[in-house]
Symmetry: D2
Subunit: 345 residues, 4 copies
């Protein structure tokens, strides 16, 4: 059976990177205790504590939807609410998973340029309703890097931290592309998380080069009380946990997590630069991580599809998203660029 | 880092079998569409339809807790109940996952020899309460092979089918060790599932030799309506689905699923035979699949633990469970047997 | 202890009307079987069947939040969604009750003039997302009369019915002020419910003159399967049910339900007419039932509050809602009008 | 329409007692702010604080199922469990309400003579499982007086308090017949609740003489955080709250709560004494509150039913429950006794 050549639809079209695979194969030698009571899991968790320079609590789930929804559920009760951007993945692409995991918490949607919440948009939601007939805001959820390929600056994170403290809100970070944010910002993981007020981070391994697996990192340890039970009950405790934790260790120990992210970011930068040299191509949002959002004439989009290019489109606005990954190649980007050029010409 | 030598604690201590691994590696060449829109997933699902000789609906989840709880939730509403054996995994080892996934369905526990429900025990529960103040029974859940290492015979399955029809109950089969049951019974998968009244089967790949992955097979297709949404919402839709479906295909196409199960069953048979030749060892339940339950004197149990043997114990009754797997070796069994002999002597 | 004079804050500030009270007192003579197995409950349910000219299923709950959320939960699963107007009570004033009762169903908000959904706004939501990553629409919820005091015409209901059929959606009607709609439309209850495609109606007794109590009326009987269990599990089965059903019978048998609604509507009409004769008062939405929404200068609003008038305000827009009820008096309206006049002058 | 003469089926067959009714009628004069912002509600809550001699948090719900399930949900998360007696109402007669309200908390059933948990039976459950695969015990729920008509002594309560503290469990008291327990024990409400380690009490007004209404009393105020939101979301916030709180005030201020309970207890005592003088009648459990459990020959039971007596039976054991209430009369008891005598003779 044949898989495809690299595509630009999503970074989850890519396979397992060599470093993750190697550790997975090593973990497969012999038997190991189940449910995370193995050495790989212990070591991976420890590595996260080292990477984030804090004694955090670390849990592994199978995917990002589970990581986000279970961690949000740990931060609020069913009659509370979560403030997020109107383009947040938890709102638009998780099929109501946060509402399900929390048994009813409402997501309150805020606008904001370039996919980013602002202190002002958050405050406006918090103060809009304070009566018992509407769910009480308890959590701010931000995505870093955002669903629109942008990155919250340290200053923006601090403003959110301030507003969170003012209204006693917890801060959840959806790190579906957290590695890309770190690569983009030239800041330490600690600086852009707990030092910036983040209580819990969902760090995605899948898009970073693993077969599957997410790390949930509670910087605020009190919020992690009995979280292992929560994971188990929600069907998120892997019996052969080592096949999630060993690849994580592979990414971390070898530095592949950052190397992969840097590569994807650089590819996106190259792709953007090349595309912008073509007349008729317009950038939609600042390209700050591994995604390029551009406007293309409708017939160009159709033409690319006819040539079997895969990417996300935004109906009506003529926009497309090209997502780069750890295995994106210059050759494929050049093919894509050439096809765009030809379609436009 | 070192993993252990083969153990007898659980079949989920074992790693990935060669066939599953080979397919996973093949699936890793190149990119592939996410969320199951890849060829591996299509082909694995088709293979299940062939294997079960019926046009069933097939879904994949990450683990068995999720498979059981989501499929049960599809068969009943929160105010309904599920009849299961008092030793059923869904009751004793899933941390309330069925109650969580269904938003409150109650498990009604029935006794029964050797871990098996009987038509009589089911009927007694169904007829005990029929008023609105107690959840209405809607589902019978049976485990094949059972948590006590026994196997429902075709006759027993048929009696349960009859009682299910009499009271309009759905039948759910927890197939954590379904392959072992097939290997033990010398019946086709179709015969012991939908031909015996099973509406939905959770077929476990993890214990059968995969890194992780469960197939949920709806023989009753109507019950599968929108089940894909249910999986997605519950955090059980893998983005890189091929890494679950390709290993499944590996197990199925190569016949490894049955080979692995037969091997485990045969190991259990050997182990049982050898242990029973030792004075002071008593069998607890008929050994019919890949588990051996024996009573041992307390000091023997302690002695084995001191020698770092891993197995499950049943406090107070002097019972232990030795579980065999696809990678159990005669050499390790002989070591274990020798240590039991020495400890008793 | 003193209660207040009649107010304009909400129709739930009013007490029990004489007819409801009289039946409640009658029901209090002697003992009666619990949980609805009494004659009052039987007779009230029968009366609804007569009133709606159809063999519907009738259930009673304590309040409207419960009636709405439980009936919506009966129409959809957690991974489905409910389309409603952005001003719908289920969205803005039930603290996430629908999400809680359904274990996560999302409300999809549509705009629409005067608080009314249109076929177009519904279709636009239904067709916007059809992939598995977003909850599948299953229900349209409309409020009759609406939260903005307007009333869906028969033609509008029929357009919604058509779109519901086109996309296989169920139709839920929040009848918090259903009686007022009937009074306003000069149509039979049957015509504006099941003959117009409504599957289930939540008919509010509290605002119509009872102490408390809501009737849930399933015109589509299949949707009511085991709904009695759902009510019980959700804490909505009254043990002394007669004290809900007898007052309902009182409202229905005596015709008070319609008399009360007509009175409230007429009061609103009078109030609107008088207010509009005052310079500086502007109507916000067509006054079609028992609510008057007007814009008033901020200092006028403050002035009224200083005089202890109670009403709802809409921050920033200078709008206020005056709600009339079964016990609104001309004298109190005239006092209010006089105070508005004075404040403006 | 006719209600029945007083019966012995349940204390919820009785109507509204005069004191509760009088206050309800007073509360019906004029209008009042909704959702509990009225004087009656404030005063009733204050009265509870006085009665219990502590600054507790007081909430009102419509019925006992809601009160129990919502307060339990406030004490534990979905992956926690509640220890209760196997005859507890929350297990046997609430249709899975606790599991629903908590989104999955499991009830762990303990045996115990006369319907009472013991420190030993609790400890045995707490220590049985301490792994992540089984819900973690968080709450002990006791019913006072019990479902079998018995009463926990102060000493028994203190033993439970000790075990709760030892294992950091919260204590929930189902006070469906709390007034009867107070009447039976000659102890103050404070002594048998928070001074005995009870964190939250569900105090039932319905069985004590109201039309409906339950008070949830959090002695441990921290556990009540945002509980008002929980009630609202669960459809348990009455808009015309005064019709629950005013009758409560009527019961409390007039002393009717205790008078009613004493009367019911004394009736039960009389009934027991008379019945025991009949040959062939055997007591089943110590009669300590307002219920009499006796064994009667099957044909006697049938005979009573033929004469339209209403009571609960326990299939197979020949047991019946006669429940006395605030409106039980000596005349009706004498009729019953006479019919039992005749049937036996």
């Amino acid at each position: 059976m044949s898989n495809n050549a690299e595509q630009f639809a999503s970074d989850n079209y890519s396979g397992i990177c060599p470093e993750a695979l190697e550790y997975m194969l090593q973990a497969n030698l012999g038997s190991a205790p189940a449910y995370g009571n193995d050495e790989w899991t212990q070591k991976a968790a420890d590595y996260f504590r080292e990477l984030f320079e804090i004694d955090c609590e670390v849990f592994f789930t199978f995917n990002g939807t589970a990581a986000n929804s279970l961690s949000l559920a740990a931060l609020c009760q069913s009659y509370h609410s979560v403030i997020c951007h109107e383009t947040a993945h938890i709102e638009t692409d998780e099929c109501g998973a946060p509402e399900f995991a929390s048994n009813g918490s409402k997501l309150l949607l805020a606008p904001g340029e370039n996919g980013k919440l602002t202190a002002q948009s958050i405050e406006s939601i918090v103060t809009k309703r304070t009566d018992i007939h509407f769910p009480k805001p308890k959590v701010i959820s931000i995505t870093q890097s955002t669903e629109l390929g942008t990155v919250y600056t340290i200053e923006e994170l601090w403003q959110i931290k301030e507003i969170a403290q003012k209204y006693q809100l917890k801060v959840h970070m959806d790190g579906a592309r957290f590695a890309n944010a770190v690569a983009a910002m030239n800041k330490s993981p600690a600086e852009i998380t707990w030092k910036s007020g983040v209580d819990v981070l969902c760090f995605c391994g899948t898009k970073n080069g693993m077969a599957l697996g997410e790390a949930i990192i509670f910087f605020n340890r009190k919020l992690a009380e009995d979280f292992d039970y929560r994971c188990k009950q929600a069907g998120q405790l892997a019996s052969k946990m080592r096949f999630i934790s060993a690849p994580w260790l592979g990414l971390l120990e070898t530095g592949a997590w950052l190397k992969n992210a840097r590569h994807a970011n650089q590819c996106a930068e190259y792709l953007e630069n090349q595309l912008l040299q073509i007349d008729g191509v317009e950038i939609m949002f600042p390209r700050e991580a591994n995604a390029v959002f551009v406007k293309l004439p409708e017939q160009v989009i159709q033409n690319l599809k006819d040539k079997h290019w895969q990417f996300y489109t935004f109906i009506g606005v003529g926009g497309v998203r090209f997502m780069c990954s750890w295995n994106t190649t210059k050759a494929r980007m050049d093919e894509l660029i050439k096809d765009v050029q030809e379609a436009i010409a």
